[in-house]
Symmetry: C2
Subunit: 226 residues, 2 copies
């Protein structure tokens, strides 16, 4: 479902060019459970933003579900994202003046769901990550791991077919992290394609395939474990 | 050096009161290397903010280095913090419009150091966390783990006698995380009191003492390992 070919991403700054991705070839089929591993600064979030259609490559091609992503304008890209992709951001990206429930309900506004339906689905999503008793809290009234779980709930509320999670357990204790991984594996068993960036070898070991990135290049792609 | 007695912290909200800390007694002597462990939402960051004089308890007493913290006004508190405490925040708290170097140099402004001295010390601190080649980047031009390392460098630049690190390796790969832990242990060997909140059992195992928090209470306080 994901086909990246010779993808390059350069960040142009005033005094330097940062080559964050250098000729990446990557194919991920529908229904796979993949982890992306690599050192700090190696290009993982950059790669996830490209896969999630939040950014465009400097060079190379990207086909998602057979569609040439680079041929789409921004509106078409936004509609595709909203309909099919759930993204858990490394820094959560919650709206500071909205409650947890409002943050989680937000992606449903583009689906034509009624207000009461949006509220109910947001509450169910928050219950799934054990935050039923924090629904009225705004982000500055939540702990780090609670914010991370709100970000996870928001990524899942539209029932996406592609889940992209950028270090989804970095702020969680081990027990809560295992619950989140179990939730992702259940979704994968139901057919959701799941791609997880993680620094936790225990999480990577539970995925079916581990893609290793160093300095903007894929250096290894291993199946097994999980 | 840290003496918390019967410390309580309640967050008052419109519709509820959150009892984040419930009668905490904790003593940490100068030069100790302590980890604080517990589930998401159990009160660890709240406790760190109190220890770091960034927040005041709802009830109870806090003596730091023999000084009754609750008797100090905000200016005296700020001076004490700036002189003695280095704080690595769970969400980094970097200034978005300043470069990495400017962010790290900021705490030195209150020490009377000259501009060139501040710049040099900031660069040394960034070199210690392997970010020499990212000094000109602003936070939105840094990866998650790079932002975390800038926060660490900033906490160390004033050479504090008390280092408080709230999940300092949550965004780091294993190898970089070990380097940061080794740096903290070196500082501890030089006499710095180090308190680390961590979800990583490997990090907790390398400290001399592990304080366990659940639901706002200390439930265990173990010496050994490390
Ligand atoms: N907007 C930007 N402008 C310039 N450089 C950037 C920008 N965003 C990221 N970079 C640089 O590109 C490189 C890759 O960043 P990226 O965020 O993809 O890393 P990462 O693998 O996710 O790291 P981490 O594990 O620390 O989150 C880093 O060295 C970073 O400094
Ligand atoms: N400003 C606030 N107003 C209301 N409740 C708050 C506020 N800040 C924190 N809380 C609540 O207090 C409890 C303790 O929060 P704290 O940030 O100390 O947890 P933590 O142990 O650091 O968790 P984590 O491991 O997820 O970072 C949480 O349940 C949180 O929802
Ligand atoms: Mg990243
Ligand atoms: Mg916390």
């Amino acid at each position: 479902v994901i086909e990246l070919a010779s993808v390059t991403r350069v960040y142009e700054m005033a005094a330097e060019s940062v080559h964050a991705l250098r000729g990446v070839d990557l194919e991920i089929r529908a229904g796979e459970l993949v982890s992306i591993i690599g050192p700090s600064g190696s290009g993982k979030s950059t790669l996830m933003n490209l896969i999630g259609c939040l950014d465009r490559p400097t060079a190379g091609t990207y086909r998602l579900g057979g569609t040439d992503i680079l041929g789409l304008d921004d509106d078409a890209l936004a509609r595709l994202r909203n309909r099919h992709i759930g993204f858990v951001f490394q820094s959560f990206n919650l709206l500071p003046r909205q409650t947890a429930r409002e943050n989680v309900a937000l992606p449903l506004r583009y689906t034509g769901a009624s207000a009461s339906e949006r509220t109910q689905r947001a509450e169910e999503a928050l219950a799934r990550v054990e935050l039923k008793d924090r629904m009225e809290h705004r982000p500055d009234q939540l702990s780090g791991g609670q914010k991370q779980r709100v970000a996870i709930a928001r990524a899942l509320v539209t029932k996406p077919s592609l889940l992209l999670a950028d270090e989804p357990t970095g702020s969680l204790d081990q027990s809560t992290g295992r619950e989140i991984l179990a939730l992702f594996k259940r979704l994968n068993a139901e057919g959701v394609t799941v791609v997880i960036v993680t620094h936790d070898p225990a999480i990577a070991a539970e995925t079916h395939r581990q893609v290793h990135i160093v300095d903007g290049r894929i250096v290894a792609d291993e199946r097994g474990a999980g």
